[in-house]
């Protein structure tokens, strides 16, 4: 468990948070630019000190000003990946990766250099100097370097923000592999909902220096009462596994609690854990099942709540299908015509789902 109570005036806003994050998996600090996410991360790393603050990681106080405790950054079991890779330009790639690792006592080296290199796929770069690396390569070296200090908590400050889409797709798998390494908690700062949907297990939503909401990613992203990005990005995250393969038609059935979706066969074995993103714009509603439709993914669900969407002509509808929540976007006129209301049984017609990992 990572607990932090911090208050720090910062010009335009005051960081004022009291958070508790699970000690496993990926927690995302999510919110618009300038909402205090980076300042919070810097306080966790010890690079900034909020007077009177408190940071406790797995019961160990990193900062407890009431008791006069402040552990300096170089004594915290923390790894940081900054927005820019911030590699040491006077050292080669291998020396960069080994910089923190060689400062650890051998007993502290839970992540080996080889693991850090393999996980980030930088083996071909080891003999290079840092000067000729691409942006994506630099960031992967930075991740390997932070990982090699065997951090209890790995802090990532928008590590993909400065990269283009192709480079992002180079890095995200590395971060997902990190997640599977035992014992490392990742705290990931982002203002991109697509990154959060893809890698986060737990989300803290921030705005203007405060936390607005926190919870598991599937639950949080399906809430209608939060200032989540509306419009094209509204949607839910569902977690489940590959349930069946239809080899004849190259299709796979992805099972999530309370629903199942047929999609293109992703060449994953049955039972493989998967994460899906279903955008509200890809879900339409019907009062009866449509057996003659080309849409095969039809899920029976109950309307839980409705809220205004970004455009006045549309509403977002929150649905409950067993253990899963869905969002649907329909026009206000359709909602009126179907007389949608909380508690009503409907069929969600899902046109497409995106497999995230």
């Amino acid at each position: 468990m990572i607990e932090a109570t911090l208050r720090l005036p910062r010009g335009a806003f005051t960081l004022d948070v009291a958070i508790a994050l699970p000690a496993r998996g990926v927690s995302a600090l999510f919110g618009p630019s300038g909402c205090g996410k980076t300042t919070l991360l810097r306080c966790l790393a010890g690079l900034e000190r909020a007077p009177g603050g408190r940071v406790v990681v797995d019961g160990e106080a990193w900062q407890d000003d009431a008791a006069g405790v402040f552990v300096p950054p170089h004594r915290r079991a923390v790894g940081v990946v900054f927005q820019e890779a911030s590699l040491f330009e006077h050292l080669g790639v291998r020396a960069n990766v080994e910089f923190g690792w060689k400062r650890l006592a051998p007993s502290e080296r839970r992540v080996s250099i080889d693991d850090a290199i393999a996980c980030t796929g930088i083996a071909p770069l080891l003999q290079r100097s840092t000067a000729g690396l691409s942006g994506g390569e630099r960031q992967r070296v930075a991740i390997a370097r932070a990982l090699a200090v065997s951090p209890r908590v790995l802090l990532m400050d928008e590590p993909l923000a400065a990269l283009d889409a192709a480079r992002k797709n180079e890095i995200l798998p590395a971060i997902e592999r990190l997640n599977t390494l035992s014992g490392i908690t990742i705290i990931y700062v982002s203002h991109a909902i697509s990154e959060v949907a893809r890698i986060a297990d737990h989300v803290v939503l921030m705005d203007a220096g405060r936390t607005i909401a926190a919870g598991p990613v599937a639950e949080l992203l399906s809430r209608l009462d939060l200032p989540l990005p509306p419009g094209e990005d509204a949607g839910v995250v569902l977690q489940g596994e590959v349930g069946a393969i239809d080899a004849e038609w190259q299709l796979a059935r992805l099972d999530v609690p309370g629903a199942a979706f047929w999609t293109r066969d992703p060449a994953l074995p049955v039972g493989h854990r998967i994460r899906l993103r279903v955008l509200a714009r890809d879900v339409s509603l019907s009062l009866v099942a449509q057996p003659d439709s080309s849409i095969v993914n039809q899920v029976q669900a109950t309307v839980e709540a409705m809220a205004d969407d970004a455009h006045a002509s549309q509403v977002l509808v929150r649905l409950r299908a067993g253990g899963s929540a869905l969002l649907a976007r329909v026009t206000r006129r359709s909602a009126h015509a179907l007389a949608l209301a909380p508690g009503q049984r409907v069929w969600a017609m899902v046109k497409s789902v995106a497999l995230l990992d």
Binding site: A45, G46, L47, P72, P73, H74, R75, R76, V78, G79, V80, F82, E84, S86, F88, E89, H90, F99, G100, R103, L104, R145, A146, V149
Partner: protein
């Protein structure tokens, strides 16, 4: 022709320049570090004080040092009380005067280099288990190495080329305080023009070679150090 006296002056000049450069690097590096990172209100006054020799006539500096270190100055009284004797007209006095005179040429390139390194590499190092001394020794100093080399070369060359301060504080005592520039002055006063030519040419070639090297190494650093008093601009 007095070759021996010339060689003695060259040897003394080199000795002075080496001692002054070594002491200035030892003293100027922490000072430059402090200036590059402090937000103290003493930063501007101290930076201006260090830069004074860039604008003051060397005779002014030499005059005040003579007063301070002389028998009636408080430094002079202190050195006498400590049993060191008086510093003016000694090699020790020359070292102290030269350090003050060459200080901006050492401090400013290092300060500029530290400022160009910025906070981020040091923060990254801090999150990689490096304590303050390790961050300084293994990150800041290697990243600022061009600035340090520039500082050493400029400090050395500037000490070799000084005249006014040397004359004020050192006099012109053969073997103790007579350096190349004052030896040259003696030659001219004695109308020994061929000897003067010889020394002048040595200094000219040496100075050009040093500057050529510095500009090749780090054109910006050299320009900054050789121009405005507070030339510590950001990159």
């Amino acid at each position: 022709m007095d070759w021996a006296a010339d060689l003695q002056a060259v040897a003394l000049t080199l000795k002075l320049a080496f001692v002054v450069t070594a002491l200035l690097l030892a003293l100027g590096t922490p000072l430059a570090w402090w200036l590059a990172h402090t937000r103290s209100r003493w930063k501007a006054p101290l930076a201006a004080f260090i830069a004074l020799p860039l604008v003051l006539p060397p005779t002014v500096l030499g005059f005040y040092l003579l007063m301070l270190m002389g028998p009636h100055g408080w430094v002079g009284e202190a050195t006498r009380a400590l049993g060191i004797g008086l510093l003016p007209f000694s090699f020790g006095g020359l070292v102290i005067a030269s350090m003050l005179y060459s200080m901006p040429f050492v401090v400013q390139p290092i300060q500029t280099a530290f400022e160009a390194v910025g906070a981020r590499p040091l923060e990254a190092a801090a999150t990689l288990r490096a304590g303050p001394w390790q961050r300084f020794a293994f990150v800041a100093l290697p990243l600022a190495r061009r600035g340090v080399v520039t500082a050493a070369v400029l400090g050395f060359a500037h000490t070799v080329g000084e005249f006014g301060v040397v004359l004020m504080i050192g006099g012109n005592i053969p073997g103790a305080t007579r350096v190349i520039s004052t030896q040259l002055y003696s030659h001219v006063e004695a109308l020994e023009y061929p000897a003067a030519h010889r020394l002048a040419a040595v200094l000219l070639v040496f100075s050009f070679a040093v500057l050529l090297w510095v500009y090749r190494l780090n054109p910006r650093g050299a320009q900054l150090a050789a121009t405005a008093p507070d030339a510590a601009a950001h990159p």
